[in-house]
Assembly symmetry: C2
Homo-oligomer: 625 residues x 2
Amino acid sequence: MSVKITFVPDNLTVDVDADESILQAATRAGIILRGACGGAGTCGRCRVKLQSGFVLVDDQLYRSDEAPSVFSCRAHPTSDVVIEIPPDARLSEHQVLLDSQAQGRLEAKDEATVPPERPLYRVSVVEMSAPERDKTGDDLSRLRRGLEPLIGGSDLAVSTGLLRELPARLRAAGWHPRCGIADYEPARLVFIGTAGAPYYGIAVDVGTTTVVVQLVDLETGSTVATRGSYNRQAAFGDDVITRIIYATEETDGREHLRREVLETINALLDGVLAETGTAWQNVRACSCAGNPTMVHLLLGVDPSYIRLEPYTPAANHWPVLSASEVGLRVSEDAPVYCLPGVGSYIGGDISGGLVFSGAASTDGVTLFVDIGTNGEIVLGNREWLIGCACSAGPSFEGAGVTCGMRATEGAVEQVAISPGGFEVLLKAIGDVRPVGVCGSGLISGLSALERAGVIDRSGRFSPGLNTPRFRIGADGREFVLAWASESGSSRDLVLTNADLQNLLRAKAAVFAGIQTLLRSVGLGKDDIEQVLIGGGFGRHLNVRDAVAIGMLPDLPPERFRFVGNSSLGGARLALLSAADRTVIEATARRVTYMELDETTPFMDEFMAAMFLPHTDIGLFPSVKD
Amino acid sequence: MSVKITFVPDNLTVDVDADESILQAATRAGIILRGACGGAGTCGRCRVKLQSGFVLVDDQLYRSDEAPSVFSCRAHPTSDVVIEIPPDARLSEHQVLLDSQAQGRLEAKDEATVPPERPLYRVSVVEMSAPERDKTGDDLSRLRRGLEPLIGGSDLAVSTGLLRELPARLRAAGWHPRCGIADYEPARLVFIGTAGAPYYGIAVDVGTTTVVVQLVDLETGSTVATRGSYNRQAAFGDDVITRIIYATEETDGREHLRREVLETINALLDGVLAETGTAWQNVRACSCAGNPTMVHLLLGVDPSYIRLEPYTPAANHWPVLSASEVGLRVSEDAPVYCLPGVGSYIGGDISGGLVFSGAASTDGVTLFVDIGTNGEIVLGNREWLIGCACSAGPSFEGAGVTCGMRATEGAVEQVAISPGGFEVLLKAIGDVRPVGVCGSGLISGLSALERAGVIDRSGRFSPGLNTPRFRIGADGREFVLAWASESGSSRDLVLTNADLQNLLRAKAAVFAGIQTLLRSVGLGKDDIEQVLIGGGFGRHLNVRDAVAIGMLPDLPPERFRFVGNSSLGGARLALLSAADRTVIEATARRVTYMELDETTPFMDEFMAAMFLPHTDIGLFPSVKD
């Protein structure tokens, strides 16, 4: 039996069967809820209100006249229902506000050069010989010889559809065919034509919380458009562990998550195509960077063993599949290249980021920190690299915190609080009214709250706070950063006690990872010549704040450099250059991987870092001052 | 509007649309008619009788009370109709009667040896290491290392479906997985399991007129079952030229012919699978040998340019496609290997046949003659090979002659006629009543008719024949080989004047090809140390008869050897051995190809050979005696 769910205030109606939860139905309708626990019914982030009708939750029936607030992941409607989505339950979608400075750097590295030499797909006019009487040179072998200057000694594969039409196509082109080649081993011929059509590729940053798609002109190497949004999978788990559990334990969970991330990418793709008037048929190559779990789920590969001792991915170096096999809505023959990973929790986003940022080719010791939902940390130089991943949670991407949001227009990126008076000064991206707080704003806020004495060094609210900004809300104690009247969302922007603990854990995980790596190679913080920061922070992060809360090591500010979205940058390099693909693959093999779990020194480091800035204040001389 | 056609005596009814001819409908119903001209409406071989209803033929309406005999290729029913198929119009399907002697030779060469070393698909238990903590050895890369002893330095491709389930499969197998590998470059992993299932391959001889499918156990190398039938394409053209025209000029002609040959192979496959209780899923590799046109049509590749100057195939060496791409009803991942061809009319059936028969590795000069619908002839030894193809027509396969049939039970294989008295003695395969005459019987008959004075040396009926066996039939002058009362078909077995001319042309084409090759390398017949005869003749051909009519050169009988179905034999070698695949590929590249058309000496040779045995009787000293 199928019933209807109407979601308000969106006024979207979907038909559902008995086995579909309200959370699943909402996702299908394009409403991304917060499913931090992956539908386990424990986190309560996905709570919605029943306005009319009946729902069943764990064998108990709820009626709308009780106006219950139910966990949408556990609730199944038994009649037509109207469901109200509270603003807090929603992960809103935004256009990506391009970080122009980081973008400038991208352009400086990639675009101010000659056209790409060997992108993942390219079109070249091939000079081949005409057939001759009594010569046994069939069409395909003469074409192969013509292609030799382009693909060298690589074998040549031909798509079956093209093989079938080969004779007529070559003759129509008068033996000077324009050949479209997917350039990997073996090279694959996927297009033969006469007229020149433009051809594009996409670089995709497949993040646990956010996904970015960049459309690139493969002929010129220039960026055509970029869009990002929340990963629709986020409705089924905050972090990779929860996703793996969902994929493994829910019926069809893996296939479900595969479809969600595909839908995320395809929707972004539709956006960039519509925006630029580009035909999907002309998108001929895809390069995807993500952590190992994200790549497993995108390709539909069983991720179970990533989270079970000894933490083994199905593959680090992936076969190149076709877009039609993967399910991406681009030219069906388009190769899908997934950047190679290092180990269970360090993926192609990091291999690519190390190359994109230059971290893999420095003389001096470089610390590369990519802070997304996981924090991945790599230490080393051109000769050695060692890396680890620590579960930072999605707080810095705006998903683990009540007022969190991505670094887009209206996101608070800086917080100042007057000591004593508790006056709050917020700076939002785009200089508009604040609608939420992004990662850099949260770090700034944590630092400001501590300096102003609102919280103590353990991250808890100080006793006896005498300000209306401090109050007991629905989720316990909280501090109001902006009143509804000042905000762009007509709601109070608050940081709750739980938010603060989430942030503290996130920063502690990052710092503990850095310390673990340093100790494993017998170095101290002062041996680090530069710190490269990837991830979504971009130019908004204030390094002083990050050092003040003890997330990053206490080094002079000039040693820090932001590299923007280095995962996207790496995917873009791989899309545009065979040489860079080779370097990225070699880099992935070169990183020594440290697994961090309860049996390692990491846990001790983590506990020591659950303090502002640290239990060992000697590590932060500049903060002590 | 759709109407019904009921075919009698089969009592099969099919629905047809206005644009489908009776010929097409019959084929769809599994009744294979003789469409020698490819539906051009010129040969009249596909004539059927209208028993009831109305048909439209080239804008003229025919009624059943006129009992018209219509060309089924041009006739479209305009009401429900009953169509009678005369026995003559039908290409009947037979079980292959295995030529036990040729089969014995096959077994001697292939089966009395050790199990195949590197068949096109094989299963091996792989020893791989278990994952270890802090090692970055993902499942796929450890598996790859385990496979190295099996596939050497070849790249490894993995089917997407298998990749997705890789982790669980490897663990279920306790790191000793049974791996199924399609063994070509790159090697392709298509199966991982624990339990041992049998695995098979098929060798397919894709002939213009007949198709043979052999099921082979890939583990032991032994033949499990063999079946053959007419190629369903034969309803749409007798020879490759007519088929190419049909493919090129009829709407969807190419796709139509592709489906017909696929249906032929799949039906034979169903037969061998049912007969042996084998599951199609366990058929894991296909090796196909055919002339270039047959392979183009099987793969769906445009064959147009094979028949247009300078006669260029799309490919001689084919990419290995998957069974699902090709449409064969075996395991979808099964590789389909098509044996490489030499040039426009010499295909993988010959490359394979040269290796199978040993012709490619002799010290002395060998003449290899494969007489099917085309006659392909190769001259040479281990150091040089030169070849040509001459259109012999399908007479010797029983399709171009009124009473023709394949060499199966009931086929006349030997004819003797008493001079003067015109008593006829027939020997049929299986020592049963004769139902038709196969290729060797036709050669024997032509020779006997000439010796008995029924025909003269130009192949025409002698004047003043005084015997009731000579008469004027529906198709003109004809000679009765067996009366209906003596035959197994309750019809008179006759050879018509047209039949005799077809046979004369066929034998002349073969001999002219041989002469053309000999002259091109400056050799004479006596330089030939052995003649290897492939094709469907098997042990039934009497070499004296073939020399007597001037089809084969006049050499001592001991220089002739039959190699059976060498196309099937070649396909089988390629199925079972990587080393043989390499040799076959090298052989295909090694043959110098001569294109025979009106601009070559071939036409003069052909005209000179249109005589029994030849205009230059000096070439046949043993016949002159």
